[in-house]
Structures are given as structure tokens and as C-alpha cells.
Amino acid sequence: MTAILGARPAGATALHLDEELDSRGRLVVVGNGMAGARFVEEVLERGGGEQFRITVFGDEPHGNYNRIMLSPVLAGESHEDDIVLNSHDWYCDNGIDLRAGVRVERIDAAAKQVHAADGSVTPYDHLVLATGSYSFIPPMTGIRTDDGELLPGVHGFRTIDETRAMLAAVGTCTRAVVMGGGLLGLEAARALQGHGLQVDLVHAMPWLMNAQLDAEAGAILKKSVESLGITVHLDVLASEVLGTDRVQGVVLKDGRRLDCDLLVVAAGVRPHTDVAVRSGLEVERAIVVDDQLRTDDPDVYAIGECAQHRGSVYGLVAPAWEHARVLADVLTGTDPEAEYSGSRTATKLKVAGVDVAVMGVSTPERDDDEFLVISEPKRGVHLSVVIRDDRLIGATLLGDTRKVAFLTQAFDRGAPLPEERIRLLVDLSGGDGSASGMLSVAEMPADSQVCNCNGVSKGDICGAVSAGCGSVGEVMDRTRAGKGCGSCKSLVKQIVEWAADGDLAEDPAASYYVPGIPMPKPELMRAIREHDLRSVSAVFATLGPGGKDDARSKMGLTSLLKMIWGSDYIPEKDAEFINDRVHGNIQRDGTFSVVPQMKGGVTTPAQLRRIAEVAEKYEVPMVKVTGGQRIDLLGVRKEDLPAMWSDLGMPSGYAYGKSFRTVKTCVGSDFCRFGLGDSTQLGIDLETRFQGIESPAKMKLAVVGCPRNCAEAYVKDVGVVAIGNGRWEVYVGGAAGATIRKGDLLATVEGRDAVMTLAGRFMQYYRENANWLERTYDFVPRVGLEKIKAVLLEDSEGICADLDAGMQRSIDAYTDPWGQDAREPATPGQFRPALPLIALPKVPVR
């Protein structure tokens, strides 16, 4: 019970400079909680350790811990060691004088000294008050003993010690009353109920979480909470606590009596302002500060929950951490003009097992405010948005927070809202998806905020992934995403998984086409043409910062140069990814896969026989039919590749590249009794024309002979659907991988040739304008279907002839890489084993 969280091992000491010799300014921080400790971190990050001697007073004896995570600790889901943010060691290592367990009594602002309860007097040049809040204990008969202490069995829920005391009690207690139906009260109730206690929740207001939710949402939350087995009493005060040595129950204002042996008071918090009041600082609801967090004493500052800025007092961690950043900027001189202008608070949390996200107002305030509500009490879902003048000014999501990323974006930055407002709250299938605001992880803009606590954007997370973070944990360590309340962890995970997908991670934080050349794609393309740069090394030498090359940029530049120059491109094998160097997809053991071209998914007995013979001859461990209607020979040793290609005598199917991959087809009008067009032949024609064309990301196509869509054309990068009488629908931007998206109908055209032209034109427009690794399902919504239609169908920019010519240049430059490199290696040792002492394949043989 008395263990110190984040304690320093016994015997460890810190060295301190002789006070007299230290010329650094004296920075004293009162409060070692979420705000105070973060402020110190921010100061250190700005090199403030050189500038200041830092002293931190903490009321609690512990290091700095994550107060938000006390609920999971109480619930037994987290261990208290896991919520330590900074241990005593950390303070010591950073030369900070931590006075843990020492309460500050008053400030002598004239003498610039801090007087603490241990009798010490500490001088300061700058003083930061980060005293936080304390649990408000409402006046109730019998709640305190004669000496003013809380009656045994009565607990606040604010500190680790209070949490420990409750955890110690749950073993022996059977009935708990929790006072307060806000966030903390609900969390405490659920945690205690999870420990097997019978729990009554008493809330003085007419509905739960009344500060954040409207009455209807509160009612639905009540049902969800009750379904956990917690009894909820609303709109009633507790007036008396029963028991003399220990709590035995509470009496409600209406006379009812609730027996209990544990009483948790979570009836709100109050800012800790007594030190400030005693020291003569201006205090209203909390300590009044200006836009630089300065109190009415110019050397005294206040941050976090004890500060009142422009009339607002915040009870969330995100504003406290913003305070810390701004003040660190000001005091270290990093940005002496830094100002805090208030926070628009958007909160995501899980309360009593229910996902809740709230931002802005919860109900309309003006006659012409738009208000959209979806209420499904049975499912425990209640969603609402308030819109004013086409801007989102409030949203409440209860029980379903899938839309929180987009709504937060719209709320914070005024992002445009979909015309059909209902799309703000639910995904509607079909229709014109491109105009909707529904963002999957892939579609989220790079600057949309994911971790509200630490202000981490999707771009920051992707940046960490492309900088080499290989796990969710590493990304969280590097960016601090998910290190606050933790409610965004699943979203962080999704983004990391998405960003790490594919052969290379992208660098979406920047507008650069590739990370190593500081230019967006259009500018880069202009510079390449202007300087006549035909090889990747020439691009680095001319355009790279300091002429430096960058491994992560090479693959994207190779693709771009091939697209721009066609056969005039000067190849450099080291600028290619291994897949492109040896024309196969590298497998986990360093072997490769071999996928021969099989246009439109149509093969012959002779081809199958050849494939079978080759598979046997080279002891291919697995032969698999692919999703792209081809045959994959997996687990092939690098050194066997050229001979296999020669034996196969078939061209490469390009199943490894960021390129045009394959065209799936159905059996169309020749065989199918429903077929409306010859989809098979059109698929073969498309593949023949566009085979191997490199592109920003892979392109998968399909052609179907009727809208039954047997070859899934609706979910392809380019999908073609026969609708009869020689007419074809051309869909673009579809996906059925990590992202599912129905393609947008680009046009309905007449005849095979029109399909070939339009498909080629679209693919060339995509090749010239998409970011590296941006699939069409991101590209089409980003550019906008209407714009693409105007450019490609009406030639609004007068570039259609150029697009057609550009595509033709690439088609003319096509050579089958297998036929070429099987005859003569492109470089010495192109097919030499990279792990000669390891017997491959290591994959199981089937």
C-alpha cells in the first residue's frame, strides 16, 4: 500500500552542481501530474535543461503517472507499473530536483520564493503552478469522522493511492455505491462491478454524463450501463452517509436507503487553487491566466486544470498538454511569442465499456442550426451532429464511434461536409461514394488528428512507419500516439498496419512524391524534363539535397522515370526493388514467386502442361491459383529463375511490380447464357495492350460480360461491365483489398475501341498525377470524379492527346523482362543467391 510508483532503487543518488556555481535560471514547478510533468518534458525537449535548474514539487510521493489510466488499474486491466510516465530515475537522469511528497504551502511573490510544508524555502526565477484538481466531496451528514477525515470505506477517485485503497477493499466488500454519473463515476462503477461487487450508481442530474451528452443519449447510455448489471438512480442526491467506524450505506434525499460497504465519491473535481489564493494571485473558478499562461504576477504561470483561460477551465488532458507546449515555447525562448488561444475539445473515450465521442455542442442552439440524430436504443447507439452554416459545430457518438476521425477533422478544421448529411454518421453503400466524407484509414487526410491527447496526426504515424518503426509499439513510442487516454490505440494500429502494407511504406506527411527529393510530383516531373534526367542517380545528383541518394526514394523514381522517358530511360538495377531486379515477388524466406502471364485468365492445355512440367522439374513447393486468375509457382530459388523462365517460354505476368497486373474476365457472351458482351476478348485485348506498364501503385483490372459481375469489375482499379448492344460501363477507383470501395462510373461507352482508349487515358492520367503508392481508390476521391470526367471525357484541360501519346510511349517501351534477362543477366550475379549457406526454400512443400 505504501510502495512508491516509479521509485528509484534504494541507494541511488544524484549529483548536483554547487548552487553557487550554477548560473542557470531557477525554474520551479508546483505539481507533478499530467500537466506539470509534461511541461518539464517539453522544456527539456527544447534544450531547457541547459537553461534552467528545474525543481518539481509533487504532492504525491510517486513519480509521474498517467492519471487517465487509473480506471483500467481499478478494473484490474492494467498494472499500476504500466501507467508510470516518468520514474524517479527519469528526474534524476535529467538533473531535475524532484520533491515528491512535499506539499507547497505558499508563494512569496515579492521575494520570489516557494515555501513548502517540509519547511524548505526554494527561490525561483519562473514559477509554474500545475496543481491540478481534487475530488469534490459534497457536504453530506456523516461523510467525515470527527477529525475531518473521510469515514473509512469512503474514497475519492483521483489518485493512485485512492485507487490502491479501493483495490484493497474490493476483496472484502460486497456492495458499493458510486456517487456521480460522469465519466469517472461510470468507470469506477464498472470497475467495481467487474470485481464482483453489487453496484448502485447515484447521479444528481436527470441523465448520465449530462455535461457531455443530451438527455436522449444519456438515456441510452443508462440502458447500456444497466445491462452490465449496475443499478442507476438518477435525479437524486445522497444526503447522509451511514456508519460510525465504517460506511454502512447512504440515505438518498427521497428517503431511500442504499446499503454498502464501499462508497466512491466521483461527484466532480475542483481546481486546486489554495496555494494561489493564499499567495494573492487572481483566482476566479481557477487561477486566471493570459494567452501566455501567465498569472497576474509576471513570473508566475499556471497550466492544466488549475488554470482558467478566457473564462474556460478544462478537465481534459489535451488542453493541459497544449498549455505545456506553449509555456515551454515561451520560457525557453523557442518561440517567445507563442500563445494559447483556447482548445476546441473533442473527446473520445470508453465509458463503462461503451464507446463515446463528443465534440462541441450536443444540441442545436439556433433556429437554423441543422440537427441530425440517429437513435437506436436497442443497439445502444445514439449519434447526432449539429451543423451551422455548413460547418460542424458539434457531434455526439455513443456506442459507435467509427465516424469519429472524419467528424473530428470536420470539427477542428471546418472540412467540407457531404451534401447528404446522413453520410456524416453512417456509410451508405452504392451511389456516388467519391463525394462523401466517409473516410477509411486509407482515405483519411494525412493531417487529420488521430491522437487527440498528444496531437498526433495520421501523417505523423505514417512518417514513423516509413522512418522504420516496425510495430505499433514502436510507432507509439516514437510519436506518443495512444500514450494519453489510449482510446485511439485501435485507430493507431489500423493506420500503422495500413502504412506498413505493401513493399514500401509511403511518406504521406510530406507533399513530396518521394521522401528523398523535396518536391511534389508535378514540380519533380518538370525538373526531370528540364534537366533531362534519365537515370535515378542523375535525379539524386541534380535534385537531391546535397546530391544525396535515398534508398526509400529509388523505387518511386524508377517508376516515374520509366513513365516519363519510356525507352529513353537509363536503367539502373540498384534503383529497383529486388522484385523488379529479378522479376519475381520475394517471399519470406528469400525465394521468389513466378507467375506467368495468362491474359484474361484464359489458358490452354499446352500451357498448363508446360507449367506442370516446370513445377516438377524445379521442385516448386507450392502451385497456387491466384486471385487474379493466374497460376503462381511459389518458393523458387533466385538462381533457378532464368532457367525456369526459359523452360516456361511465357512472358512475365508482372505479379510483383507496382504496375499493370492482370485483367480478370468472365466467360462473357461466347459461353455464358447471360453474357451481353465479349468480356473475355476485351480482357485479353486490354492485357495485351497495357501489359507491364509501371504505375504509382499496382493496377488490377477486370471485365465482365454482364452486371452479375462474376469477375468483380465493380471493385477494380479499372472495371468494365457489358450492358448490352455493344455498350460498356467503365468504373474507376474500385478496391477489394485492405480497402473495399465500389468504383465510380466514369462513363458508358460504345464499342471495344472506346473502352481501350478511355481505360488507357484514365491509367495515364493516374500515372501522371497520383502520388507514389497511391492506389486509384485514393486517387479518384482525392482528385474528384467530376474533375476526372471533365479532363478525360470533355478534354477540359486539352491534355487528352498528350495522355494518349504518353501511354503509347510506355506501351512501345515494353519488353518482356523474362525473355530478356533469361538470355543474359542484366548485371553480374543478378541471380546469385543472397543467402548461399541457407538451403532454400524453407517454406513447406505441398
Binding site: G468, G516, D549, A551, E572, D574, G590, R832
Partner: protein
């Protein structure tokens, strides 16, 4: 491997400089150990262990620049300077390598 191993006082000749194309890597066996040797476009030579400590990826198949080597399997990046990973993952071993009369000499 057709390369003859030849122990000198300070290292092992694993092959010829021209066996490694500019910017690429090739694996050699020196004193019974697989070593990946890289020749950057600036002419510098580097040698590392052959398999990535993360998941055994063939490092010689990776892409390079003046600072780092990228494993082809999961893009873990390792610094030439000391073999450390840019993401804090397990480092790779780096070996001194130099050119002597067109031969690649690796210290194992």
C-alpha cells in the same frame, strides 16, 4: 561459390570489386560465414551480416543509400556507420571491407 578463399594477414579475399554492381549487394562466403558486400555509387564498400536479424531477410537483396541499407522484406533500415537500426531494432554486424588490387578483402 566459385570464389577461392584466400586468407591474408588481415582479411579474406572474397571476390572482385566488379562482382558487385554499383549500388547493389552480393553475398560471399568468407571463412565459413555469409557476408553481404555492398558497393555504393560513391565507390565506398560496406560489408554486413547476410541475414536480417528481424526475420532472416536476404540483406544483399536490399536497397542502399549513403547512410543506410534497407532489408527487402520489411524495410528495416540499418546504418552503415555502426550497423544500428534506425528504429531501435536489433543491430546488424558490420565488417571492415576494402579493395586491394581489385580484390574485395573482408575482415571476418
Amino acid at each position: 561459390m566459385s570464389v577461392t578463399e584466400m586468407t591474408t594477414t588481415t582479411g579474406v579475399v572474397v571476390g572482385r570489386v566488379e562482382d558487385v554492381p554499383p549500388g547493389e549487394g552480393r553475398t560471399f562466403v568468407a571463412a565459413g560465414v555469409q557476408i553481404a558486400v555492398f558497393r555504393l555509387r560513391n565507390g565506398s564498400l560496406h560489408a554486413t551480416q547476410a541475414a536480417c536479424p528481424h526475420a532472416g531477410g536476404p540483406l544483399a537483396d536490399g536497397q542502399t543509400d549513403v547512410d543506410v541499407l534497407l532489408c527487402p522484406l520489411h524495410q528495416y533500415a540499418y546504418r552503415w556507420a555502426d550497423g544500428s537500426s534506425t528504429s531501435g531494432a536489433t543491430p546488424i554486424r558490420v565488417h571492415p571491407v576494402r579493395e586491394v588490387d581489385g580484390n574485395l578483402v573482408v575482415e571476418v
